[in-house]
Symmetry: C2
Subunit: 660 residues, 2 copies
């Protein structure tokens, strides 16, 4: 979608503009005027002749003589009348709309219908529509406030895209307190037409935007979003606070905006794949905005942090936070409790003289004769001439430090109330830089040629896996005429009644000769005579492989993000400890190895106490699984459990599939 005319229109029509200052349509008009919009403005109101000094029009139809292709139409009238006006505008050639009005998807089934109607009109006429149920947007790059959030005329280099108007308002209010600004504020609302994807694509190319910050309650078109985000993230940091990841939260999100159900672990895997910074607390949203407002944090950052402090205890707490966050304490300079601004200035200057590129956190608590404001001024002074280093501050206290904190904020030094906030924000940025290094654009897996048919039949499924390059233990159905060349043998009953074979006594191991086999078959037939009457339950033989490491490998198709791979320790540990890892199914050998190395059980896979496992074989198994589902999108679920990992190979011992 081309959003150039949406964000930089030459004309604006406001349906619902009014002479009543309490009306939202009027507030928006006032904001447009206050933000110095230079194009034509058409207030639309059936009753008025003039609004705020502009000629008012009774209807969009009165604008017939105007070309509306570069006109943004803002709709702030009751929901039942919205669709009509959109279509009216579309017929006049308008392409860009904001629907401020509520009363759509969030308001029950009737609203849902209205929203579908809007979507249909948009499709028919190829319209860009923001909302409904949103605050509009602010484009500070072009001095244009098309929202009913008060104009501040303070610009910045971050874009904030919020699905919730209220969260957006809160951030704007907080920014206003410190006279901080954004490049763009976009209130998504119900996302009937334009969504996070469209804006991410637009913001990717805007040179006035250094980073994009999202508050979302759901992600639409998951795979497409991962593709876009993983591409944008190669250039700019993307930060996402996604709510509704708990069961309770999801339920509320649905009633709030009708947000899609989501599996939190899948979403996390997707966002990780996209190379975005996923934050989990509202506090972090504010903290990371502070950090990324400052240009210095876009340079490649080290994971070491130096401290300068007037409080030893505070440095100790900060050191704890540094280690916990996976960063490293470089050094700490304790200026002691009576440190003056001059001491901070000298310490900071000297440190930066010795080393030009560092992360420095300046700590302060108010003690005897502490001069917080002067210290803040010293920091700002030093920072001004040392742009290669990142300088943050944490001033703990109340009244005594608040003016100093304000001064730092106004001078673009990220300052926090507690050391953990500074450290955790820095850690998010540092780790994200590492994750973005070598980040590849996600591509929805290209459908590959099927090599084999995927069958639910046990032996056939194992054979198919072999065709897709898996090592599979030799397995065949029992028949009395079987000739066995190699013992030991394992016997299993497979089929619909034997999903959990072990629990059901459906496995006999360690069969060492023909005689044992005969006995074992008799035992299984006797024990499970009832089930074996069902021809779908069958006895299979396998060359027995034991010992080594049992893993679980699986795939699941998520309706939003496509196929997702999971892997972890096998057996009871997998189920009880719930420690499987999830990754999107677009792995190659390199990214598969990376995923394995990042898993918390890598020490086991990597060979403990000298036991060596072939992790390359395991990585290949992951890749094989990706290839398999690319050829077989009909697979809903597939479990390989156990996958036996040995010194030499990763062998499938058992598998189960669920297809469309």
């Amino acid at each position: 979608m081309n959003l150039a005319n949406f964000f930089k229109p030459q004309k604006i029509a406001i349906i619902g503009a009014s002479n009543n200052p309490s009306k939202i349509g009027r507030q928006i008009l006032d904001n447009i005027i206050a933000s110095h919009f230079r194009g034509k403005i058409f207030p639309i109101n059936i009753k008025e002749k003039k609004i705020a000094g502009f000629k008012a029009y009774a209807s969009l139809d009165d604008l017939k003589k105007q070309s509306l292709s570069k006109c943004l139409i803002i709709v702030a009238i009751p929901a039942p009348f919205v669709a009509l006006e959109i279509e009216r505008g579309a017929k006049l050639g308008a392409k860009n709309f904001i629907i401020i009005s509520a009363g759509f998807k969030e308001a029950g089934s009737e609203g849902q219908k209205r929203e579908e109607e809007i979507r249909a009109i948009a499709e028919k006429y190829k319209l860009n529509i923001l909302g409904p149920n949103c605050l509009g947007f602010i484009n500070n790059v072009n001095n244009f406030n098309a929202s009913f959030s008060e104009t501040t005329n303070t610009s910045g280099r971050l874009a904030l895209v919020s699905q919730s108007g209220a969260i957006g308002s809160a951030v704007l209010d907080w920014l206003k307190e410190y006279n901080l600004g954004l490049a763009y504020f976009i209130s998504l609302g119900n996302k009937a037409v334009l969504n996070e994807n469209d804006f991410l694509q637009y913001l990717e190319k805007d040179k006035n935007v250094d980073a994009v910050v999202f508050y979302l309650e759901d992600i639409l078109q998951g795979q497409e979003f991962v593709r876009t985000a993983s591409q944008v993230a190669q250039k700019k940091p993307i930060i996402i606070l996604l709510s509704g990841l708990s069961q309770a939260g999801e339920k509320l999100a649905f009633s709030h905006t009708g947000a899609l159900a989501k599996e939190s672990k899948v979403v996390e895997a997707a966002l990780k794949r996209a190379g975005v910074i996923q934050i989990k607390h509202l506090n972090d949203l504010f903290n990371i905005i502070l950090l990324l407002k400052n240009k210095a944090f876009y340079q490649t950052l080290s994971s070491k942090v130096s401290l300068i402090t007037n409080a030893g205890g505070l440095a100790v707490l900060t050191a704890d936070a540094i280690e916990k966050a996976g960063l490293e304490l470089a050094d700490n300079q304790d200026l002691l409790g009576d440190a003056q601004a001059q001491d901070y200035y000298q310490a900071l200057s000297l440190k930066l003289k010795k080393k030009i590129k560092q992360n420095i956190l300046v700590l302060l608590t108010p003690q005897t004769n502490t001069q917080p404001l002067q210290v803040a001024q010293a920091i700002v002074k030093v920072a001004a001439s040392h742009s290669q280093s990142t300088i943050m501050a944490t001033f703990v206290g109340g009244k005594t430090v608040s003016t100093a904190k304000r001064f730092l904020l106004e001078n673009d030094i990220p300052v926090f109330s507690y050391p953990e906030q500074a450290i955790n924000s820095l850690a998010l940025v540092v780790k994200n830089q590492q994750a973005r290094k070598g980040l590849q654009t996600f591509s929805k897996p290209i459908k590959k040629k099927k090599i084999n048919y995927i069958s639910k039949d046990y032996v056939a499924l194992l054979k198919a896996l072999k065709k897709y390059n898996f090592s599979v233990v030799p397995t065949w159905y029992y028949s009395s005429s079987n000739k066995i060349n190699k013992f030991p043998i394992a016997l299993k009953v497979v089929g619909p009644d034997f999903i959990h074979k072990t629990d059901k006594g459906g496995i006999i191991l360690n069969i060492k000769n023909q005689n044992d086999l005969k006995k074992a078959v008799q035992k299984l037939k006797k024990d499970h005579s009832k089930y074996l009457k069902n021809k779908e339950n069958k006895i299979v033989l396998q060359n027995q492989k034991m010992g080594d490491l049992e893993l679980i490998l699986g795939i699941k198709r998520d309706k939003n993000f496509g196929h997702v791979l999971l892997f972890g320790l096998g057996g009871i540990y997998a189920e009880a400890l719930e420690e499987t890892q999830l990754v999107l199914a677009d792995l190659n050998r390199k990214s598969a190895l990376k995923a394995l190395k990042a898993s918390h059980f890598f020490p086991i896979i990597n060979g403990l106490r000298g036991k060596e496992f072939n992790i390359y074989a395991l990585a290949d198994a992951l890749v094989n699984l990706c290839n398999l589902v690319a050829a077989h999108p009909e697979i809903k679920e597939l479990d390989i459990n156990p996958l036996l990992l040995t010194e030499k190979e990763a062998i499938v011992l058992d598998a189960r599939v669920l297809t469309d």
Copy 2:
């Protein structure tokens, strides 16, 4: 120690009082005067005749005619002169001192010597000494500020005890901003004589104190502290922020105050046993002070939380936080973006009318025509007549909400900037209430009678374990004349060179008959001929027990907290996943079961997929281990690995011990 005269002296002498207002001795004097101390004040200064209107004395010796037993002597002179003055005071009968001066343990070896000298004097004369290197204390209960922190004369019902003066100052500064107060502020400094234990004992009995909040960098006399804290916690919540738990932090803490090294997992186990709220972020220290200032939070609280909001998105985020914190969302009432104060008032009143006892969190972001201050007033009004419920608030934003937040704070409603802060603080209190229910006072294990000698010899050690009621698999040294009645047998080489038997090929399993045994012995003798020349390496035989669940059980003696038990999954998982649980070694069957149930692998122990294990036998094994170390304090480390858990029993298969 009796601290009554320390906290409520009838006289005060200030060594280092001065007419120079920049001197700390003078600042303290001013604070004492400003806080309306009603007893006698003796400034001590060799040069002055009069200080701040009081007669000045050249030396403590000039007070000979005064009884000094109820005099608090405050010392604020250079470190080298301190010991002399303390002894001078002690000889005159003084018992209570504060050493403000720095230059002791924190200042290198000479300072360390000075501190030991002070400690020796204190022991000789049985003195109460706070510090050195501290700010003093503030006793707002009796209007007495014996510190150089500015007096606010605002009282509260919490006590804050801080090892770091700077952190203490920061909290005081923050409290001052909102005109909030404490009952006591105690700056511990170097803890040469009086430490956290002494003050906890004193505060336990003070009816003006509802809860005790600590910032500590180490805990001295660990077992004694756990005893005191577990006793106090039965009556009052104790909150501890302990820093220096990371390696980096510990190193800094040592250089800062010479804090003891500590193992973070052991400390956490100890604090858990003590029933205290361990917080890990400085932010939480401030948050929990807000919560516990309000009497309502001392009632037995439910783990359900109700929300009232004007912002759906904020409620979704809060619901996520609630679930993550282990609490439960009761319900959410969305008043929508245009909610007025009256709407909040009615919703809150109605909710409390329906149910008298609830946890309610009121959420607000500034939106169209939002009235934050009026909403705050509504909350305060409703809260005033509903003391059985807890009411918290989260107002997100900047300028627009700050006056409202101040109003809430001044009216004792805990208000936070972000929902996670409110929820996490509440969760800490709720969980602590549960942990304190039925909390028993920790007692340093009473030395029990030795039943058996603990030997490093493998077979002897297993026999000893049997004497202490463990089930132990029959085990004996190999001899060619052995007669085996029961197969299968396991063969092991044990001894100093076979700590990790499996890795070294020192184990042969599945020996099914006399012939196999002979071959296996030959193999071991051949493979390990070199090691077996050392007579301490020996071959043992065991009746083979296999399958089921392998656990690890161990004990370690911590120099601060005594014996600590650890248990977890056995084998490679224990080592690679590092998931062992730690508890102090004073378990009975009930607390042992509780510890097992709280472990994250309880689903496995508790029997997965219908597999039953005897968890009572496992609990008994934990108790046996406690009894064992009570009888054998000489045990430094003992590992039982594996302990085999079956349907019937918990059997020791292997053990290793390290004694003094």
